[in-house]
């Protein structure tokens, strides 16, 4: 927005998303307080019953609320998200805070989240990066560089993720050597994720489509009217 690439309207979405997250935090901490310091005799009895059963039974352990860890919100209702147009399994829905995954980059063990800059990023999962069609590769490069010039264009990184170990690619390639990424993101050959600068999922597709990517990018920055 500072660079004139997004309208002031984007600031309202920051507020909307933080209000949602704050309400979630409040709900969790209210529930924790009710469990830790019961306000009635019955509430105390239930709490003690849970603790007693928790010694031997898994279901009761799950009810022990000793203060839920502060965890990032799933911003599934955010209007910055582009809804799925096909089926995906798992939790990495539009609005989800990204799950991390161990990766290999240039021979080093790295973590996926550490590889993402504070920019929009397109994660492209491919089985065989070496045999990517030349025009597809050219489109990726165009996306990444249209980002670099033009005042109106937004910065977008394009990152390939592949189970295969391939040396020669012009784009940065992360090797999903444990298949954790494929598993957590339900990624198949061709699956594409658009990631926000704050590492939430903005959109995802089963196949790359430059027009859809641009539309999702516009939506995620309030440039879609």
């Amino acid at each position: 927005m500072v660079e004139g690439k997004a309208p002031p309207e984007l600031l309202n979405t920051y507020s909307e998303e933080r209000v949602f997250a704050a309400e979630e935090n409040l709900l969790n901490s209210t529930r924790s307080t009710d469990f830790i310091t019961p306000k009635s005799k019955t509430s105390l009895t239930f709490r003690n019953a849970v603790l007693s059963l928790a010694r031997n039974h898994a279901f009761a352990r799950a009810l022990v609320n000793s203060g839920r860890l502060s965890v990032p919100s799933f911003l599934t209702e955010s209007r910055l998200n582009t809804p799925d147009d096909g089926p995906f399994s798992g939790d990495m829905v539009p609005g989800a805070p990204m799950d991390d995954a161990p990766m290999r980059f240039a021979g080093q063990d790295v973590w996926l989240l550490d590889q993402l800059g504070r920019r929009f990023c397109l994660l492209v999962y491919v089985n065989a990066p070496a045999s990517l069609a030349a025009n597809t590769l050219a489109q990726f490069k165009a996306l990444a560089s249209s980002a670099a010039d033009g005042a109106a264009a937004l910065a977008l990184d394009v990152l390939l993720v592949s189970p295969a170990k391939t040396a020669a690619t012009e784009l940065k390639l992360l090797q999903d050597h444990t298949d954790r990424f494929a598993e957590r993101y339900d990624a198949q050959d061709g699956t594409v994720y658009l990631i926000r600068p704050d590492q939430h999922v903005a959109a995802r597709w089963r196949a790359f489509d430059a027009v859809k990517v641009q539309a999702a990018l516009a939506r995620a920055t309030c440039n879609l009217h």
Binding site: N28, R31, D34, F35, S40, K41, T42, S43, F46, V50, S52, L53, R55, N56, H57, A58, F59, A62, L63, N65, R68, V71, F74, D91, A96
Partner: protein, 74 residues
């Protein structure tokens, strides 16, 4: 079917991203059910709840197992 002692709470049509959420949803509803009641009234509500849920479960061998576990360590 034996008594299920694994976490088993859910609500149809609701999607959970955190494992603790459905259990917390239930527990909150349970405590809310007792809000502003006297101890005696709460005891009555609990007794009714047990009867309602026992009838829902139906299988008396399962209920015997639950009653046995509930009495332990008292």
């Amino acid at each position: 079917m034996p008594l299920n002692l694994q976490a088993n709470f859910f609500e149809p049509g609701k999607r959970y991203f955190r494992a603790f959420t459905p259990g917390d949803d239930f527990y909150e509803a349970l405590i809310d059910t007792h809000r502003d009641l006297s101890d005696e009234q709460s005891a009555m509500v609990n007794a009714k709840l047990v009867l309602l849920l026992a009838n829902h479960v139906g299988d008396i061998s399962v209920l015997r197992e639950a009653m046995h576990i509930a009495r332990k360590d008292i």
